[in-house]
C-alpha cells in the first residue's frame, strides 16, 4: 500500500512543468500518471517554455491546470486540427495534446486521421479507458463487446455498435506517422495478490519522451495508453487494474506499431 500522507513532491521531486494544483482525477486513474510522465519528459528535454498544450474535451480538459505550459482549448475532437494550425504557423514550438478515446477516436477521428496522413510534426497522447469518463460512463468507440455502460445497459452488442476500434492499428496503417506505440499504463497483477507490477509507467515514460523527440525530428507521434476508469466501470481500483490486464490488453495489445526514425533503438 502507498501511504497517502505528505505532498507528492516530497516523494517524487519537483518538476518545473508540473503546477502544484491538486488534480481532479479520480483515485486510480492513469491520467494522473500520464500528467507526471509528460511533465517529466518536458523538463528533461528542456521544452517547457517552447511548448503549447492543446486541451481536448473529456477528463483531460483541465490538463492546463496541471501542466505549466502555454495552452489553448480545442472544441471536442478538434485538437489535432488546432495543433496543425499552431505547428504550421510556428514550427519552432512543441505542440501536444492528451485526448481521450471519445475525443480522438469518435467525434474527432477525421481530425486525428488527417493530421496523421499529413504527418504533422505533433505529439498526441491517447488515453484509452474504453468509456466516456467525464460525461458519466457512456459507450466509447473502444468499449469492449459485452461491457455494460450507461448507453449499453445490456452490454455493447457488436451487431448494433460494431466491435471496438483499434486506434493504434488504424493510425499505424497510414504512411504519414513516424511513431505509433501502445502502452498498457496501469499497474499489472503478479502471482502475489499483494504485489503489482509498475512496468507500464516505465514504458510510458520512455514512450512519452520518444514521442516528443520524434516531433523534434519532424515526425507525427501517437502514443495510446490503455488505461482504467474504475468509477465508470463500476469496479474497485484493483479490479479495474485486473480488467485492464485480462481484457483490454487482449483487445488492445501493447506494442511498437511504427518507429520510422528508430528512436526506440537509440
Amino acid at each position: 500500500m502507498i501511504a497517502a500522507e505528505g505532498h507528492y513532491e516530497d516523494k517524487l521531486g519537483h518538476l518545473a512543468t508540473l503546477t502544484s494544483t491538486p488534480t481532479h482525477y479520480c483515485a486510480g486513474c492513469e491520467h494522473g500518471t500520464l500528467t507526471r510522465l509528460i511533465a517529466s519528459a518536458l523538463d528533461e528535454l528542456d521544452l517547457r517554455e517552447k511548448t503549447v498544450l492543446v486541451d481536448s474535451v473529456g477528463c483531460s480538459v483541465f490538463a492546463h491546470d496541471y501542466l505549466n505550459v502555454d495552452a489553448i482549448q480545442a472544441p471536442h475532437g478538434r485538437a489535432p486540427a488546432v495543433m496543425a494550425g499552431i505547428k504550421r504557423m510556428r514550427p519552432d514550438l512543441t505542440v501536444f495534446a492528451v485526448q481521450g478515446d471519445g475525443d480522438a477516436v469518435s467525434i474527432g477521428l477525421l481530425e486525428l486521421v488527417y493530421a496523421a496522413v499529413r504527418g504533422e510534426p505533433i505529439t498526441i497522447f491517447l488515453v484509452n479507458n474504453a468509456i466516456y469518463g467525464m460525461t458519466g460512463g457512456q459507450m466509447a468507440p473502444t468499449t469492449p463487446v459485452g461491457m455494460v455502460t450507461t448507453t449499453t445497459p445490456r452490454g455493447r452488442e457488436a451487431a448494433l455498435a460494431g466491435p471496438p476500434l483499434d486506434a493504434s492499428k488504424l493510425i499505424a496503417s497510414l504512411d504519414g506517422p513516424a511513431y505509433v506505440k501502445r502502452v498498457l499504463l496501469p499497474v499489472t497483477p503478479t502471482p502475489s495478490p499483494e504485489v503489482f507490477n509498475a512496468r507500464g509507467a516505465l514504458e510510458g515514460a520512455r514512450a512519452v519522451r520518444n514521442a516528443f523527440r520524434v516531433q523534434q525530428m519532424g515526425g507525427f507521434a501517437f502514443v495510446e495508453f490503455v488505461s482504467t476508469c474504475s468509477i465508470n466501470w463500476k469496479m474497485s481500483i484493483l479490479e479495474s487494474k485486473r480488467y485492464a490486464t485480462d481484457v483490454l490488453a487482449k483487445i488492445f495489445p501493447p506494442g511498437l506499431f511504427k518507429d520510422r526514425f528508430g528512436v526506440e533503438q537509440r
Binding site: 517554455e49 511548448t51 483541465f62 478538434r78 486540427a81 488546432v82 496543425a84 499552431i86 504557423m89
Partner: protein, 355 residues
Amino acid sequence: MSAAAEFLKGNEALALGALKTGLNAYFAYPITPSSEIPETLATEFGKPEWPDFKVFLQAASELEAINMVMGAAATGAKVMTATSGPGFSLKQEGLSFASSMELPMLIVDVNRAGPGLGNLGPEQTDYFQATRGGGHGGYPNIVLAPSSVPEMASLPSLGFSLAFRYRNPVIILADAFLGQLKEDLVFPEVPTERFDVSWATTGARGAERHILSSLHLDYGEQNRFHEHLEAKAEEIARLEQRAETYRTEDAEVVLIAYGICGRLCRRAVGMLREKGIRAGLVRPITVSPFPRKELGTLVERGVRNFMVVELNMGQMVEDVRLAIGGRARIELVHRTGGLLPSYLDIVQRAEEISR
C-alpha cells in the same frame, strides 16, 4: 508607375486584398461559389512578393479548416478562411470557440442560396447566422458587407484591423454575385499593420504562460465573461458602425441595402431622382454593428419612408426596425433563390410609397 487597373473576379480580388494586408496563413476547404479564393491563394503561395504568407493548407473538412484557423490565430497570426452556405454552418462551432477565446480571424462567407444545398446563386439569407452569431452560447460578430469588387479587395484590411483591435472574429459577408462578378479595380495602398499579440500562446519563454480557454466552470466567472463580451459588443457598436450614404441629404424615401443590392439601389436612386422623387440610399458596410446611428439621424430629420432591398425574406428589416423604432414606415423589396430584384421592382415600389 502608378498601379494599373486589373480586371478581376470578386473572389480573386478578396484573396489578393488579404495578401496585400499581410496575410500569414490560409486554411482551405473548397465550396462553390467561393473556391476562387483558395485557388488564387494557392497560386500566389510562395511568390517573393508575399513574404508574410507562410501557410497555405487544404483541410479535409470545413471543421478541420476552421480549427486550423483557430490554432494559427492562437499564435497571433493573420489568418483567414472562406466558405459558403453549408460550409458556413460547419464553421459555427469554431466561431463560438474563437469568440470565447477572443481569437482574431477573418472568415469569408460567399452567401449562396439555401437552406440545405440550395443552389449556387446569390442570396443574403445567411444574414441572421452571420450577424447574430450562428454558433452556441451567445457572442458578438463583426460582419462586413462588400458591395463591389474593389470593396472585396479592400475589406480584408479593415477586417484584420477590427479583428485584432477587438480580439474578435470578423466575418466578410459577400454573396455569389459579388464573388463571381468581374470588375476593374486598382488595389489601394495598404500599410501592413502590426498588432499587439502579447496574449498569443507561443511558449512561455521566461515570462508568465498564456492560457486560451473557453471553460468557466464557476457560474460567476462565466457570467463575468458574458458581461465582458457584452461590453466589447457595445464598444464596437459605438465606434465601428460604417455605412455609405448616397443622396440622403434631402431624401424623402431612403433605400437601405447592402452587398449586391446596394449597387442596384444606387442606380435605382438615380432613376427615381430622374422621375422627380427625392430618393437616397444607406448602404451598410458593417451589417454588425448595424449602422443604427445613420438611420436614427435620418428619422430625426423627418424621413418617414424607408425601403429595404435584400435577397432574403426580410432579415435586415429587423435591424432597421430596431434602429427606427416605429417612427417611420419600412417597406421591403426582396428576391431569393438566386434571383435579383429588377430596377423596375425597386423604382415602382419606391414611387408607390412616396406618393
